[in-house]
């Protein structure tokens, strides 16, 4: 690994990665992926893009806040990225930045300037999320077109709407935790610090509690995983329905389960803390609430399966990624039932089992939702189609790669391998299974290179892809009634009114196998259900 030395310098002296830099990489990987890629990429990008188009609005409610949100995000990304080049290294206390490690530069060098920049960057990021979230909620509530009641909204919009509410309610708590941590670090307060002797010195801090920080952090941290996964759920519901040419099964149950998940996501945070020394009674309560989340999640999976049942499935790249999403969500979600059980978590906590679990259920599957969304709405973004064949190759390599990486990781976790270990050679119990770890690395490299296919496809298709038609997927929602690439104001003339729900696919008696939302019942007499007639305007 000598060839990396010109790039990494002192962090890889003699071709061997520095343990502190390893922790920095782990921290930055977690932070960037969870916040800057999955949160910003799914809810940030797609909410801004799809909400006005699917609710029939000219633009977001506040264009100014929209812009502000973007520039705060931009600033925060720059600061986070810049922290990679600090002499003392970027933040290194894990993406969960538990104090005292993150509070004391004596404890790890990344907790100096690196941590400061992390916190500043996150403050800007949270501001950006809040501005964005308020804007999404306002747009959905106020700017729906004529006839588009909440019970006719596409599930994507429902998912973005609830995600925004989750963000608005939980991000401020992280902001408070970050500010209190700044106080502890810089102004000598003791919110999270107590009885510490470090680097030959007894600190004055007394009475603080590191566990308090964990409560504050996970009060955001847990809703955060739903902030990541719910937009993906919404988009996947839409894509599965469109490409099975069938209405989504149980539209109301899908909304209900989204609401259920949103509510429950606020009361399960301490399942990350079963063994942190908090009162065991709290552990019982949080185990109860955590395992209950399996019920609405199960409802969603069963509804997706029922949507495929007796459909007429078209395997577009977006559809493949949506099916992959469901598969990964099942595989990763089910192990949550093991980890959510406080008793079993004693053994599994902070091992690779956890890493495997959340990478499947919120990492990979959210990514699959993101890919599905890009492939599906690419024609709307650039007026051209992405190459389907490359999409297929990209899907299969990624799908196989992801399973090859994360399935074996469960076994490693069962063996008790702790996460965030730079090396396991010091432990006999761990080092004997190193070969499985090599296999995982090889699979990860395969999955990594498969992503270049996507990147190539993306940029190639922007310029040279096949030209899109107005409604390439024969979809029912409003965004496909705009010009191929919507201009300023989205619709050149009047905004279309909405008459029906968004899932009239393969309706018996209809001439085509889809009826767009803006087609009035008066034009589809042959397919109307008895209760479906025009509303009085």
């Amino acid at each position: 690994m000598d060839w990396l030395q010109p790039f990494l310098g002192k962090w890889i002296e003699g071709g061997k990665l520095n343990p502190e830099f390893y922790l920095s990489l782990v921290t930055m990987h977690g932070t960037i992926m969870v916040f800057f890629v999955l949160t910003a990429g799914l809810s940030g990008t797609f909410s801004n893009f799809l909400i006005p188009l699917q609710v029939g609005a000219r633009d977001m409610a506040s264009g100014f806040m929209n812009m502000l949100s973007y520039w705060f995000f931009f600033l925060s990304s720059i600061i986070m990225f810049a922290s990679l080049f600090l002499e003392t290294g970027p933040a290194a206390a894990g993406w969960t930045i538990y104090p005292p490690l993150s509070a004391l530069p004596q404890a790890i060098s990344g907790s100096g300037m690196g941590m400061t920049m992390w916190l500043v960057s996150m403050v800007f990021f949270i501001v950006s999320q809040l501005l964005g979230g308020v804007n999404y909620v306002t747009t959905v509530i106020n700017l729906r077109t004529r006839g588009l009641s909440m019970s006719k909204l596409p599930l994507t919009i429902w998912a973005f709407f609830l995600t925004a509410i989750l963000g608005i309610l939980s991000f401020p708590v992280l902001l408070s935790a970050a500010l209190l941590l700044v106080f502890d670090r810089s102004f000598g307060t003791s919110f999270f610090l107590s009885d510490i002797y470090i680097a030959g010195q007894a600190l004055h801090n007394q009475g603080g509690s590191p566990v308090l920080f964990q409560h504050l952090f996970w009060f955001l941290g847990h809703p955060e995983v739903y902030i990541v996964i719910m937009p993906a759920m919404g988009m996947v519901s839409e894509i599965l329905s469109t490409n099975s040419r069938k209405p989504i099964f149980g539209y109301r149950a899908m909304i209900g389960s989204l609401i259920g998940i949103s509510l429950l996501s606020f009361v399960v945070w301490a399942h990350h803390m079963f063994v942190t020394g908090m009162n065991p009674f709290l552990g019982s309560v949080f185990m109860f609430l955590t395992l209950i989340i399996a019920v609405p999640s199960g409802v969603k999976v069963f509804n997706w399966l029922a949507t495929l049942w007796r459909g007429n499935i078209r395997f577009t790249a977006a559809m493949l990624f949506s099916i992959g999403f469901v598969s990964l969500f099942i595989s990763g979600g089910l192990t949550g039932i093991i980890l959510g059980n406080a008793t079993l978590d004693i053994q599994m906590h902070n091992t690779y089992f956890v890493v495997a679990h959340f990478h499947l259920v919120m990492g990979s599957s959210a990514f699959f939702g993101l890919f599905a969304g890009v492939y599906h709405w690419f024609p709307k973004m650039f007026g051209r189609m992405m190459d389907e064949k490359l999409g297929y190759i990209h899907f299969w390599l990624t799908f196989i790669g992801v399973y090859l990486v994360f399935m074996p990781m469960h076994y490693v976790g069962i063996a008790g391998f702790p996460r965030r270990y730079y090396s396991w050679t010091g432990f006999d119990a761990f080092s004997q299974f190193a070969d499985l770890n090599k296999f995982i690395s090889a699979a990860a490299i395969l999955a990594f290179f498969a992503q270049f296919i996507f990147i190539f496809n993306f940029f190639y298709s922007i310029f040279r892809g096949r030209r899109a038609t107005q409604n390439p997927w024969n979809s029912t929602t409003l965004e496909w009634t705009t010009p191929i690439v919507p201009g300023h104001g989205n619709w050149p003339g009047e905004i279309p009114a909405v008459y029906r729900w968004p899932y009239d696919y393969s309706k018996p008696g209809a001439e085509t196998d889809f009826i767009p939302q803006n087609v009035p019942y008066s034009q589809t007499a042959s397919s109307n259900m008895p209760y479906e007639r025009e509303m009085e305007d």
């Binding site: 538990y98 539209y251 063994v275 020394g277 029922a306 004693i346």
Partner: protein, 366 residues
């Protein structure tokens, strides 16, 4: 040179790939497949779904059965067996759900692939089905919660009165171990008293601290409940002993605890594994800094007789002249008068909720 070759090969591969891609597009334009909406590729993908399910399923079950018993650490504590039973109950439930949903997903994908002459079945909702697949998982979850709750309360409940007490203190990057000595009572410690010869910060004005002793290895007797009291003196650490199914954070300023009953001595485990060098290992499982990965302690499970013999051989704090001398100095610096950290003592009692462990019948005979 090798780097250059690799780059060159990669560049060539990219060029070849790009040419193939263009070629494929050109041929598909001539054959008409370029504009055809649903072609051969739909069937290929549907078949691949089925292939993935079969091959992936076999690979998964093979690798699971191959790896699980090898990787699951042999259980060496009583509650570990209860956890194992709970694990398999949960695995049965999620195994059924896993196979059912994954098989349906891939089989439906294959079976309901696009056909020209078929129209999808318009089936928008059915409340009975929704209720069924809400209620059944709810009942299953409720029973898992109940079982988990019972086991959890038992495991985290108060330790038996006659438990052997060991205290671990985490520091960057090793574990300090202390025993209560002959009086079965852990003395007061105060982090302000820590220095080179007094790692633990013993307050020697407390009589109970005088006979406490520290050890480099943790010794515990087999078949007897062991209460581990856990502290940290700098950042968060976690005591993790996979064989005993024990894990608890070490939190500065907040003592924590975990009790368990070891069921296999180190020698028995060596015989069981056929590994004469086996040692029970204790790993730090909460990231604590640069050498987190090397923060380790070893634990020896002795037969009760051997344990007592070992315990009797240890020399108490009061025999450590260095510590006694340095205590005088540091206690003055820390501003603790003659009475020592009495306040700290009361605080220690109130936060651990225990004054002393009742003597182990075997130990009281010492």
């Amino acid at each position: 040179m090798t780097a250059l070759t690799i780059l060159l090969v990669l560049a060539l591969l990219l060029v070849v790939f790009g040419l193939l891609f263009r070629l494929q597009i050109l041929t598909s334009i001539f054959s008409g497949a370029y504009v055809r909406e649903i072609g051969m590729s739909n069937r290929v993908n549907a078949v691949l779904m089925l292939v993935f399910m079969v091959v992936g399923g076999i690979a998964f079950f093979w690798s699971f059965s191959e790896n699980f018993s090898k990787m699951n650490p042999p259980i060496a504590s009583i509650h570990g067996h209860a956890m194992e039973r709970m694990f398999w109950t949960t695995m049965t439930v999620i195994g059924i759900a896993f196979v059912l949903t994954q098989v349906l997903l891939f089989v439906y994908s294959y079976k309901y692939q696009h056909k020209e002459n078929r129209r999808a079945y318009f089936f928008a909702h059915n409340n009975t089905i929704e209720v069924i697949w809400t209620i059944i998982p709810a009942i299953v979850m409720a029973s898992l919660i109940f079982a988990g709750w019972k086991a959890w309360t038992r495991i985290t409940g108060p330790a038996p009165k006659d438990s052997v007490v060991v205290e671990l203190m985490g520091k960057q990057y090793n574990w300090l171990v202390r025993y209560p000595g002959r009086d079965m009572k852990l003395g007061v410690v105060n982090y302000r008293l820590i220095d080179a010869s007094n790692d633990f910060g013993f307050d020697l004005s407390d009589k109970a601290a005088l006979d406490d002793f520290t050890a480099t290895e943790i010794h515990v007797p087999k078949g007897h409940p062991v209460l581990i009291k856990i502290r940290s003196r700098d950042v968060l650490h976690a005591v993790y002993m996979p064989h005993f199914r024990v894990q608890m954070y070490a939190v500065p300023g907040m003592p924590t605890r975990f009790w368990f009953t070891p069921t296999m001595t180190t020698d028995e485990m060596r015989a069981h594994l056929g590994n004469p060098n086996f040692k029970y290992e204790l790993a730090c499982n909460q990231v604590c800094g640069k050498s987190h990965y090397a923060m380790k302690a070893t634990l020896v499970v002795d037969e009760p007789d051997d344990y007592q013999a070992w315990y009797a051989k240890q020399s108490p704090n009061s025999a450590n002249a260095d510590m006694m001398a340095s205590y005088k100095q540091t206690s003055q610096q820390a501003g603790l008068g003659k009475g020592g950290s009495k306040g700290a003592q009361e605080a220690a009692i109130s936060e651990t909720g225990e004054t002393q462990a009742a003597p182990l019948s075997a130990q009281s005979a010492m």
